[in-house]
């Protein structure tokens, strides 16, 4: 049995955090106000060494792009440090607090608010043209009116469904609105699937499946005046619709311990909503080509989906920002974005890269490309992870527990307002 005090561990971490405060430079991040981007940075004559942190497969493969970059910019040396996803958040926070930062870091889109409020990120210079990116992806870089990163690659959520089951049920067309989706799911279940769809009943990340329905109903997470607007009519509609799949027995009633792709491959689950990485996973699980397809999210007031992915930021305490931005600029070139897609299957954030045959010629990928034109991310606020955890909890209360959608909406709004936006 463990006898060491957890409160002790927390206390130690706190003192370390406080001690680091003394070392960190106190800066006022001069970038406030109207300007959304910092003045241009001269990247032409950049030289020296830069350190780049990246997570997951990106961290393992980025060195190939760095090598190509160094061929073009022989004066700059790039060294890539792979960081495990689990440790990345805390390592970046500690780096910013201690002033020992990498020059460039990959940043999860939902971390932007926290790191920017911390004063750790350099405002994006005017060299970067926002219009080259998908709008939803660019918005993830903006904190309080200032951009602190560029979108590196994107992902969005669409509907995966079994075309054979849909045809058997007489609902072969991709769903246009909510009623269509509901009818299609019902038809596929009637055609022999155990469940017509698999929706997440709550737990970590359920908000990513729920939030598109909220946006489709016309909802906004944060209103004009900067406070949360999670309740109201759009929420009640979205939550009622989401819960109706559980009420009607169209989706598994609790989280399953079998991965969805296997159940999808053998036709027990007829559809689910997920991101581009599932294409290969679904094929590997044995789903025959031609028996499944992807479709855009249904459309009510809007047909909005969730946009995720990762951003690239230059750190405020970097001592070689010229070279750092030169490297970021290089990674935003459409050809390089396509190379990156070939390397790790990461979808380009730069819209013109989608003209490449590999992306535009692929039927499934073009659905993602279209969906990205109408995709949103939650606001970049420092407290988002905590708000999201509350939303996940309420979704579970409504789908699994016996909370009504109305009470659920009120609970989301109350919890979020209590947490605040951290500004």
């Amino acid at each position: 049995m463990r006898t060491r005090g957890r409160s002790g561990v927390i206390a130690v971490t706190l003192v370390v955090a406080l001690a680091l405060v003394a070392c960190g430079r106190d800066d006022d991040d001069g970038a406030g106000g109207e300007a959304s981007q910092a003045p241009e940075v001269d990247t032409e004559g950049a030289s020296g060494e830069i350190d780049v942190w990246a997570m997951g497969a990106e961290g393992e493969n980025l060195q190939t792009l760095a090598d190509q970059f160094m061929d073009e910019y022989p004066d700059i040396t790039v060294s890539v440090t792979p960081v495990p996803w689990d440790a990345a958040h805390d390592r970046i926070v500690n780096a910013i607090a201690g002033g020992e930062v990498p020059d460039v870091s990959m940043v999860g889109t939902t971390w932007m608010g926290e790191f920017a409020t911390l004063g750790g990120l350099d405002p994006t210079p005017a060299n970067i043209d926002p219009s080259q990116f998908f709008e939803g992806a660019w918005n993830t870089t903006v904190v309080d009116g200032v951009s602190y990163a560029v979108p590196w690659y994107v992902e969005t959520r669409v509907l995966y469904y079994r075309t054979d089951l849909a045809e058997d049920g007489g609902a072969a067309d991709a769903p246009g609105n909510w009623d269509d989706l509901k009818a299609m799911v019902q038809a596929m279940q009637d055609a022999g699937a155990e469940y017509g769809i698999s929706l997440q009943p709550g737990g970590t990340g359920a908000w990513q499946t729920y939030m598109p329905f909220f946006w489709q109903a016309g909802g906004e997470i944060i209103g004009e005046d900067g406070s949360f607007t999670l309740d109201g009519e759009p929420c009640v509609e979205a939550l009622t619709y989401y819960d109706s799949f559980f009420e009607d027995g169209l989706t598994p009633p609790a989280a399953e311990d079998v991965p969805v792709e296997g159940r999808f491959a053998n036709g027990e689950i007829a559809s689910f909503i997920s991101g581009p990485w599932m294409i290969n996973i679904v094929k590997d699980a044995g789903t025959e080509e031609g028996t499944f397809a992807v479709a855009r999210q249904p459309s009510e007031e809007a047909g909005t989906s969730f946009v995720g992915g990762s951003n690239l930021s230059v750190l405020e305490q970097s001592d070689n920002k010229e070279a750092a931005w030169a490297f970021v600029e290089y990674l935003m070139q459409p050809e390089v974005q396509v190379t990156w897609y070939e390397t790790v299957s990461a979808l380009p954030s730069v819209t013109s890269a989608w003209d490449d045959e590999q992306l535009s010629g692929d039927e499934m990928l073009s659905v993602f490309g279209e969906q990205l034109e109408d995709a949103k991310a939650p606001p970049s606020i420092a407290t988002w992870e905590q708000v999201a955890a509350e939303i996940d909890g309420v979704i579970e209360q409504v789908t699994v527990g016996d909370m009504s959608p109305e009470d659920g909406c009120a609970a989301m709004q109350e919890a979020a307002s209590g947490i605040g936006t951290g500004q």
């Binding site: 005090g5 409160s7 971490t13 106190d26 910013i96 607090a97 911390l118």
Partner: protein
């Protein structure tokens, strides 16, 4: 200590004795120094800082701008106590302690008494078997139990299916999750208590049992009249250690359920951890001190009940 070293020094004159006492105490302190320094740097200091920060609005976003930190008095403590998730976590933790501690003690004691008397053959095998979970990584155990308790693919429900019984969602149904987790923890920890109780049983003189047997006392009377009273100090130790463990219940639920479903397995430590990862450092410090008070209260209660009268 110094008194004795005076005798060793055997110096007749007063100044020598004084200097030797001073030197002895210097030597003593230099032996104690590693502990004292480590204690102040890594325990007392941080605890003090955490205590102070529990009265502030310190958040992760303040760490480069300490001037933004403000004292907020008891706000954090009031917020903690009125938070619904905290209350749920506190109620769950109370169940962990009230059910888990007695359950683990009863099981550990039963195994110890059984091994001490009944089992003669392969006694070592059983001791090792019961103790093995204690030295195995909690995370590894929790992962395996999660596989055993899975709703659709789990071993337990798979076995039940053979007999035509549809097993419940041991970890995914809020009615069962808490009890599943307690069962796992009790199984894991009973080995530790078994060793403690076995040691305690060794100290009870055999002739007491023989005398009682001559007087016609049955096995249950002997257990109630001799074993239990004489194990009282061991029992106190076991209860305190197990109690502290259950108040700080963390890894099991972190790996198996993440506190779900519907917060039915959320423990106080897991609650504190989630607040810490949200960057609410001041608030988390307040939770940590509430946890500290809870541990102190549980331990105090156990001392009152089990202390030798």
């Amino acid at each position: 200590m110094t008194g004795r070293s005076d005798a060793v020094g055997a110096g007749p004159s007063a100044p020598t004795a004084g200097r030797s006492r001073w030197r002895d105490s210097l030597i003593a302190w230099s032996f104690a120094a590693p502990f004292v320094i480590l204690f102040f740097v890594f325990m007392a200091g941080p605890i003090l800082v955490a205590f102070v920060s529990s009265f502030t609005d310190l958040r992760v976003t303040d760490i480069r701008n300490p001037l933004a930190i403000e004292f907020t008095g008891l706000t954090n403590y009031l917020d903690v106590l009125s938070d619904a998730r905290f209350q749920k976590a506190a109620a769950n933790t109370a169940v962990f302690v009230v059910v888990g501690v007695p359950l683990t003690i009863v099981l550990g004691l039963a195994v110890a008494v059984g091994l001490n008397q009944g089992v003669v053959k392969a006694r070592t095998l059983f001791r090792v078997g019961y103790y093995l979970p204690v030295v195995t990584s909690i995370v590894a155990i929790a992962v395996v139990w999660r596989l055993l308790l899975g709703t659709d693919t789990g071993f337990i429900n798979g076995t039940l299916t053979i007999f035509g019984i549809e097993g419940p969602g041991w970890l995914s149904d809020e009615r069962y999750a808490l009890w599943s987790v307690i069962a796992m923890a009790a199984w894991r920890n009973l080995g530790f208590l078994m060793v403690i109780f076995l040691a305690g049983l060794q100290t009870i003189p055999k002739d007491l049992y023989e005398a009682a047997e001559v007087d016609g006392a049955g096995p249950w009377q002997r257990f109630k009249g001799i074993t239990l009273p004489l194990l009282r100090p061991t029992m106190l130790f076991a209860a305190v250690i197990t109690g502290i463990g259950y108040v700080q219940f963390f890894e099991e639920v972190y790996v198996m359920t993440q506190g779900g479903p519907l917060n039915s397995t959320l423990s106080l430590a897991l609650y504190a951890y989630s607040q810490f990862s949200f960057g609410n450092y001041g608030y988390t410090a307040a939770v940590a001190f509430v946890l500290f008070v809870a541990i102190a209260a549980v331990t105090f209660f156990q001392f009152r009940v089990l202390r030798e009268s």
